[in-house]
Amino acid sequence: MIGIGGIGNANAADRRDARFGYALSAPALTMLFLVILFPVVSALYTSLHEYTLIAPNYDTFSGFENFMLALGDQEFRHSAWLTAKFVVGVVLLEFVIGFAVALMLNKVERFKPVYYAILLCPLLMNPVIVGLIWRMFLHPNLGIVNYLLSTVGFGPVNWLGDTKIAIWTIILVDIWHQVSFMIVLLLAGLASLPKEPYEAARVDGANSFQCFIHITLPMMRTVIVVTLLIRLIFAVKTYDLIYIMTRGGPGISTDLLSYFIYRTAFVSLNIGEASAMSIILLAAILALTVYLYRYMRAIR
């Protein structure tokens, strides 16, 4: 009897706790639904209709036609491929630079907060401001970058006007802006690593490089995967820099997917097809996220 009574009381307490938990999280969940889930569902619904800004209605159900059109569109495929290259470029370079700087900062004893403050400055800037500043810096005739290059004998470079160079310029500016995000996250991971395995490795005979390969990298795997995942998702969404610096040009050499979807929606006024493209992009990011999440769980 005592046992049964005890269990019953425990369940009642659990239910009370659960109700309290739901009550606490309800406002946040409602907001999340309104700003995330609703737009996603709305985009999905729109993508299945012929919805344009000229005829903004859901009268014509088109099924998967918008998806087929998008996938068959050469410009969409070009933008998707360009975005893939851009994402791999920025994430890999930011990771390599970020990890190297984080490793150095992890060894620093003095003035750490000062380094942190300096590193965080670009990250605190709005991407629009970053774009405007760099557009001025990189101006072919009046920019400081070309001026500095001229002082060491290099001719002027058309950073944003050359179809071969423009995408690399965007990549470099994005790295300047976002690399500190990578540094801060990786540094937090490095700082939280236990020191004992390193001491054991030193006694076992590992040099610094072997410690990095055999101890640091494997123990940092989870942090690295999470950092890469977050940065990757943000890189796929890159829009502001393109809008401010190149508007996708010259030609379509920097026409990343987010900007291309924007053009399809608000220049071509084809909301239905733009929604389909957004859903394809969302599916790709989700697939990647699920894959990395599973990988992360597997290595734990």
Partner: protein, 371 residues
């Protein structure tokens, strides 16, 4: 195997904090040495200096006669077992065991052979493919030992490796370590703050306090002949009772209460003669109180019971020496002993086991050693 020689070794952190102060100690080849002391006494720092994980501020460290102060930890050919084991969390047990050998370029076949041999010896064969997170505390401890053993080093440094185990497993591992030392015969330095580990495992104990060595000797010798009140109070549980007293003119002892008079045996008197009529600290071991007189070598002591602790095999009597208000002492009694709080009892103290200390310095007053 290796002899380890510390010559005036000092460790200073920053500019001011002296963690180890002028320590000199010779550890013989194949010896099982215990570093014992309370937290912060410098025992782990000394061990880490021997292992090469801490730099030596002053003095010399010699291993097999060769100065090792600036030699890399890996080149010292010494293995360390850490307090929290420090296993590589991402590697399997086999990976942990073989990592050091792999780094030293030992060929795959030899690594496998040694891993097999060690895993059989420590009974961790079925665990080889598991990761540390999937092991119990005792299993991790054995893997950490295995990682040290597999390298066949000159010496083992054990930094409180049993402190994270439960009491039963700790007792079992104590025996395992003793057997292991008998089997491999390698020099072992074992750091602990547990005096039972110190008494049962080591061939010699080095007791440290405030970064300095207080006493070095065989466990029983240190137990029977503590050099000062710190050692007397630190070793054994319950520790030696330390009560204020006074040597009277006839070289007898009169406790400050005037109620417990313990005459000093003839054989011990010469050493104490110079302290006649002076205050002393009297050291009385709990196990040297008896219910019945010992023929010709005990004196009656009146005590008032405060409490009794029933431990099963024995009873610890907490009592006030000389009656109510006297200094509190603990006495080890037979398992069937009973006393009510407030009850006055007469116990008999073994007079050959009296220790006297200088109350000002805490140092023992010279007397013939108890063998």
């Amino acid at each position: 195997m290796a002899g380890i020689d510390l010559k005036n070794v000092t460790k200073i952190y920053g500019n001011a904090v002296v963690a180890v102060d002028d320590v000199s100690l010779e550890i013989k080849d194949g010896e099982f040495m215990i570093f014992l002391g309370p937290s912060g006494c410098g025992k782990s720092t000394t061990l880490r200096m021997i292992g090469g994980l801490e730099s030596i501020s002053k003095g010399d460290l010699l291993i097999d006669g060769r100065r090792m102060n600036d030699v890399d930890p890996a080149q010292r050919d010494i293995a360390i077992v850490f307090q929290n084991y420090a296993l590589y969390p991402h590697m399997t047990v086999a990976g942990n065991l073989g990592f050091g050998l792999k780094l030293r370029g030992v060929d795959r076949g030899e690594i496998d052979r040694r891993i097999r041999a060690i895993s059989e010896m420590l009974d961790i064969g079925p665990l080889l493919e598991r990761k540390p997170a999937q092991l119990s505390g005792g299993q991790r401890q054995r893997v950490a030992l295995g990682r040290a053993l597999v390298r066949e080093p000159k010496a083992f440094l054990l930094d409180e490796p049993l402190s994270n185990l439960d009491a039963k497993l700790r007792a079992a591992m104590r025996t395992e370590l003793i057997k292991l030392h008998q089997k491999v015969g390698t020099t072992i330095i074992h750091v602990t703050h547990d005096q039972i580990e110190a008494m049962t495992m080591g061939q010699r104990i080095c007791i440290m306090k405030d970064g300095r060595i207080v006493q070095v000797g065989a466990p029983l010798d240190v137990y029977r002949n503590p050099v000062n009140t710190f050692v007397a109070g630190f070793l054994a549980s319950p520790p030696m009772n330390l009560v204020p007293g006074r040597l009277d003119g006839q070289i007898g002892l009169d406790a400050v209460t005037g109620l417990a008079a313990l005459p000093i045996p003839e054989a011990l008197r010469p050493g104490y003669a110079s302290h006649a009529e002076k205050s002393v600290t009297v050291g009385l071991r709990p196990e040297d109180f008896h219910l019945l007189p010992l023929a010709g070598r005990s004196a009656p002591v009146s005590v008032t019971a405060v409490a009794i602790e029933l431990l099963g095999p024995e009873v610890i009597l907490v009592a006030e020496l000389g009656g109510t208000g006297g200094p509190e002492i603990q006495a080890r009694m037979p398992r069937d002993f009973l006393a009510r709080p407030g009850e006055t009892l007469t116990l008999h103290y073994d007079l050959t086991q009296i220790h006297l200390f200088d109350p000002a310095t805490g140092n023992v007053l010279v007397r013939p050693r108890i063998a």
